[in-house]
């Protein structure tokens, strides 16, 4: 049997805003095993981002148990959580979050700066390899403002890969991109998943979710439906099938 990367039970998250308590997550149970590509879906405000932030150890649940790669995160202090994020997690954000005026290569290197056991030489080599894996080997020394949105998101994906995490967490990673570029990003995620990476992907677009292996639907802070994707599409093939833009 494959090991559980993520195991969540009776997870609750309340936000207190003035007098009002918002129940962002009411009671969530979810297991994600190694090698899965899970899409978290749901309408706006259903609790997807809240869930992902807790999975990413960026936020703590109000109640419930969360085991990440077998570790109960409620027993960890702030510094241990930071170390966990550094070693086991990779994040991809909707707005890329690259450091401005910093080359693609240096952006990708960043997580390894916070890992003392990685020497400068290895740091550079791993960053180059990660950029190669997302197809940007020829853009290493470009600044973010010299890259397209899709390319910036690839840099961000390379950054999330560089520490070889147990799971990549992506929140609306295609939200700012046009359809074709979104598919290219999804093709990249599918390749990574095919190589065995576990990925949790938040989206509200069903066609994007169709590229994953399992869909988890949220509504009002609860999981209302889960289903395995039966006729999973290949993003690469979809791109091939798309009409080519008219080149001048």
């Amino acid at each position: 049997m494959k090991r559980n990367i993520i195991s969540v039970s009776s997870l609750k998250k309340d936000f207190i805003v003035g007098e009002v308590t918002v129940h962002a997550l009411r009671s969530v149970n979810l297991d994600i095993t190694e090698g899965e590509f899970v899409a978290i879906m749901g309408t706006s405000g259903s609790g997807k981002s809240t869930m992902l932030n807790i999975l990413g150890c960026l936020d703590k649940p109000t109640e419930g148990i969360y085991l990440l790669d077998g570790i109960d995160i409620s027993t960890l202090n702030k510094n241990e959580l930071a170390r966990l994020r550094n070693l086991k997690l990779g994040f991809v954000f909707q707005s890329y979050n690259l450091l401005p005026r910093t080359s693609a290569l240096e952006n990708v290197e960043l997580p390894l700066f916070y890992n003392d056991s990685v020497k400068p030489r290895e740091r550079r080599e791993r960053a180059i390899a990660a950029l190669g894996a997302v197809g940007l080997a020829d853009r290493m020394h470009h600044m973010p403002n010299q890259l397209s949105g899709g390319q910036q998101q690839r840099v961000a994906i390379a950054r999330s890969l560089v520490n070889d995490p147990v799971v990549i967490l992506a929140d609306e990673a295609t939200g700012n991109l046009d359809t074709r570029t979104s598919y290219e990003i999804m093709a990249l995620f599918q390749e990574l998943n095919a190589k065995g990476k576990t990925i949790v992907f938040v989206t509200h677009e069903p066609e994007i979710a169709g590229f994953t292996t399992r869909n988890v639907h949220f509504r009002d802070g609860n999981i209302i439906k889960e289903n395995l994707v039966t006729n999973r599409g290949s993003a690469r093939e979809m791109i091939m099938a798309m009409p080519l833009e008219v080149d001048s």
Binding site: K78, R83, R85, F113
Partner: protein
């Protein structure tokens, strides 16, 4: 996270905003540079006053009529009595710590030679007068005891007077000049001494036998002062004690009476003027310290703004594994780098500016090594002190709040 990595991160962050980093450093640069330059000016003037005064002879003791002054306050109200040659004799006989003693008589007036005239002061002294005042004869000779005894109408001439009467070309020695209409023969030219610290031209004078100045020129019997040399600098206070006793005896003062003369020593002058320029130095230093403080607040302001501006960056760094301590150190190192680099530039600018100011104004300049060391330490301290609060603020952020910051 090790310091090398953190320093690299901090340096990269600063390099991303070179111009802003420079503007921030400007406060520190100006602050440090002005501290160093101001202290250099203050210290330089103090040194030159000290040099100046000791070049007049650090074992010089001067007796003047009048009551003793202590720190500018007149002590008692005893009358003053004019000095005369008997006092000089008394000191010569009774003061073993005084190696040489000479009367000094002086009078101002117009000196004329050919078609030129010039206002100056005629000083009269004994044959050892030049030795006591540390003045050398450049050409010609000093007057003799014989000439003192006979009140011969001879004098030595200062360079300024010579230039104004005869021009650069003519050798003044052997010429006859008229001081207050009395013809006086120039027998020697004095070595140049230049201006003293107080701006007084030390070459604008004539020196002759005191008898000549007393009898032939001023028609007086008193003398203006008595100049004495202590056997060495350490013997100065012993000399003062001996002179006081000799003078009191000579003036027939009884036990309870105040002195009717005053004694000044070079050592005393040095300390008076040193303390005046110490006040000046402190004042200048304080003013520039304030500008350094303002520079520090500038750094704090920039660091504070950049914590807010870079909240999302902080969030990102936390999301990829940066601990609060790492973030704190990054911002602290950034601020220390700013102030230390600014400080080093400031030291260079300050030293250069001191030299330039010295060259342009001719003021004496002495850069204090201590000022450099202290301002470097102050810069580091400013970096830590003013960086600490914004850095703490950055480190205390919650990763998710920082990431979501709009």
């Amino acid at each position: 996270m090790n310091i090398t990595n953190l320093s690299k991160i901090a340096l990269n962050a600063l390099l991303r905003n070179k111009f802003r980093a420079f503007l921030t450093m400007l406060g520190i640069i100006i602050g440090v540079a002005s501290v160093i330059a101001m202290l250099a000016i203050g210290e330089g003037s103090k040194k030159s006053i000290q040099d100046q005064i000791s070049s007049m002879g650090s074992n010089l003791v001067i007796v003047m009529p009048g009551t003793q002054m202590m720190g500018g306050v007149q002590q008692g109200n005893a009358s003053s009595k004019a000095l005369d040659v008997r006092d000089v004799k008394a000191i010569r006989l009774d003061c073993p710590s005084v190696s040489a003693v000479s009367p000094e008589v002086r009078g101002g007036g117009q000196v004329v030679a050919g078609g030129n005239n010039w206002p100056t002061t005629f000083y009269g002294g004994d044959v050892n007068y030049l030795d006591i005042k540390k003045v050398e004869v450049k050409t010609g000779r000093m007057f003799s005891e014989q000439e003192v005894a006979s009140a011969a109408k001879v004098c030595l001439i200062g360079q300024t007077v010579a230039d104004n009467l005869f021009g650069k070309e003519v050798d003044p020695v052997g010429q006859t000049i008229r001081f207050k209409n009395i013809p006086v023969r120039v027998i020697g030219l004095l070595e140049e001494k230049g201006e003293n610290t107080f701006g007084m031209d030390q070459d604008d004078l004539l020196i002759g036998p005191f008898t000549t100045v007393q009898k032939r020129i001023l028609a007086v019997t008193h003398i203006n002062a008595i100049l004495g040399s202590a056997v060495n600098e350490e013997a100065t206070s012993q000399a003062v004690t001996e002179i006081t006793t000799a003078m009191r005896t000579s003036h027939k003062l009884s036990e309870g009476e105040e002195d009717d003369f005053q004694i000044r020593t070079q050592a005393e002058l040095v300390s008076t003027f040193s303390s005046i320029s110490d006040i000046l130095t402190t004042l200048l230093g304080a003013i520039s310290a304030i500008s350094l403080l303002v520079g520090g607040i500038g750094i704090m302001n920039i660091m504070y703004v950049s914590v807010t501006e870079r909240t999302r960056e902080i969030g990102l760094r936390m999301s990829i594994g940066g601990r609060g301590l790492d973030i704190l150190m990054q911002f602290l190192i950034e601020s220390i780098l700013l102030s230390v680099i600014g400080g080093i530039i400031g030291i260079l600018v300050g030293v250069t500016a001191s030299a330039v100011i010295g060259n342009l104004t001719g003021w004496p300049i002495a850069v204090m090594p201590l000022a450099i060391v202290v301002s470097f330490l102050v810069c580091t301290a400013i970096g830590v002190f003013f960086g600490w609060y914004p850095a703490r603020k950055a480190a205390g952020l919650n990763p998710i709040d920082a990431l979501r910051f709009e």
